[in-house]
Symmetry: C2
């Protein structure tokens, strides 16, 4: 019997380097799979269907909502994004560990169904990059941008809801830390009860002489 | 202000390779210090005073008990062993992380004073080595050895009290796992509240334009 897989959820403000960190951790950990979200937005250059997202039509997305297939979904700038609970369950049941890249509200929805998920928030050295991105949209007044930045700051305050916080001051260290969180959580006694009981039963049975 | 250090407690059955694992982790983690116990037993060949143990007289040991200096102490085969709470507090206050090598009853005593300690149990691939050691004492009958082994098995059942379990099937993997537990625990949000608050306050103050 294979133990149920571990679910690790990663959130971060825009411009933190989350995608790079997650990819490097996934590459280093063969038992850990990335959970690919579904979206109705068009692929950007370099994005691969099935790797970065499952790109589907709005019609199909809505049909999947109807069927209750998404454990969480949101609409951002008229595009739908969602996590398939069916895909997730199938992986976890097979004993695969799954990494989910998601923002705070999505993470909260996941927590309701997966209390034993591991919730990690990544922070950049500072929010300069986030500020630049908010400014780059172009046409808005400084007041609008400032308002948006304050909203972003409020969302970052959700950090106190997470289990772990990784500071991405140095990329390689952040990668090592996220990997360590994954490895450590796999070694939690509460996740190893089955294996420990097997060990004890086996040693009890083995004859001493 | 430096944050308070982290306390990591490691237990294992005799013959697990705990000492080797701990030494390798300590070598790889410069911020982590080993807590050196006090004992009244004589140094064995190769043991260094102040590194393996603080070797003191029974008289001095008893005087330190009187002063309430030990956070835990035991008598084993007429020898006293104890952990100085004074040493421990001094290190943790300075923000140093401390590793403690101790058996179950000692770990329980530590937990009473250090609820936020991290408690790790290391298991060998099997208990052959432990059996051999119990047998090697020499003069006892198979029945006595068997009784002792069953006592040891009962003590191993305390494993369900620990936070983490590391299987020492391959030495290097066990070292990596113990290191990962240490690194992950340093990234627990609950241990980083101070640093996160500083980050948020700083970013709030910085002018956007």
């Amino acid at each position: 019997m294979s133990e149920r897989g571990l679910l690790i959820i990663v959130s971060a403000p825009s411009g933190t380097g989350k995608t790079t960190i997650c990819r490097k951790v996934l590459k280093a950990c063969p038992r850990l799979e990335f959970s690919v979200s579904y979206t109705t937005r068009k692929p950007r250059p370099g994005e691969v269907d099935g790797r970065d997202y499952h790109f589907i039509s709005e019609e199909e997305f809505k049909a999947r909502i109807e069927k209750g297939e998404f454990v969480e979904w949101v609409v951002n700038y008229d595009n739908y994004y969602g996590t398939s609970g069916v895909d997730l369950e199938e992986k976890l049941k097979r004993g695969r560990d799954v990494m989910l890249d998601i923002e705070f509200r999505g993470a909260q929805a996941i927590k309701e169904r997966y209390q034993d998920g591991v919730f990690v928030y990544i922070l950049p050295p500072d929010l300069t990059e986030l500020k630049n991105r908010l400014g780059k949209r172009g046409f808005e007044s400084p007041m609008v941008i400032e308002k948006r930045f304050n909203q972003a700051l409020e969302e970052i305050a959700s950090i106190f809801w997470y289990d772990y916080v990784v500071f991405n001051d140095k990329l390689e260290e952040a990668v090592e830390t996220l990997k360590a969180i994954y490895v450590a959580e796999k070694s939690r006694r509460s996740r190893l009860e089955h294996r420990i009981k097997e060990f004890l039963a086996r040693e009890k049975e083995r004859k001493l002489f």
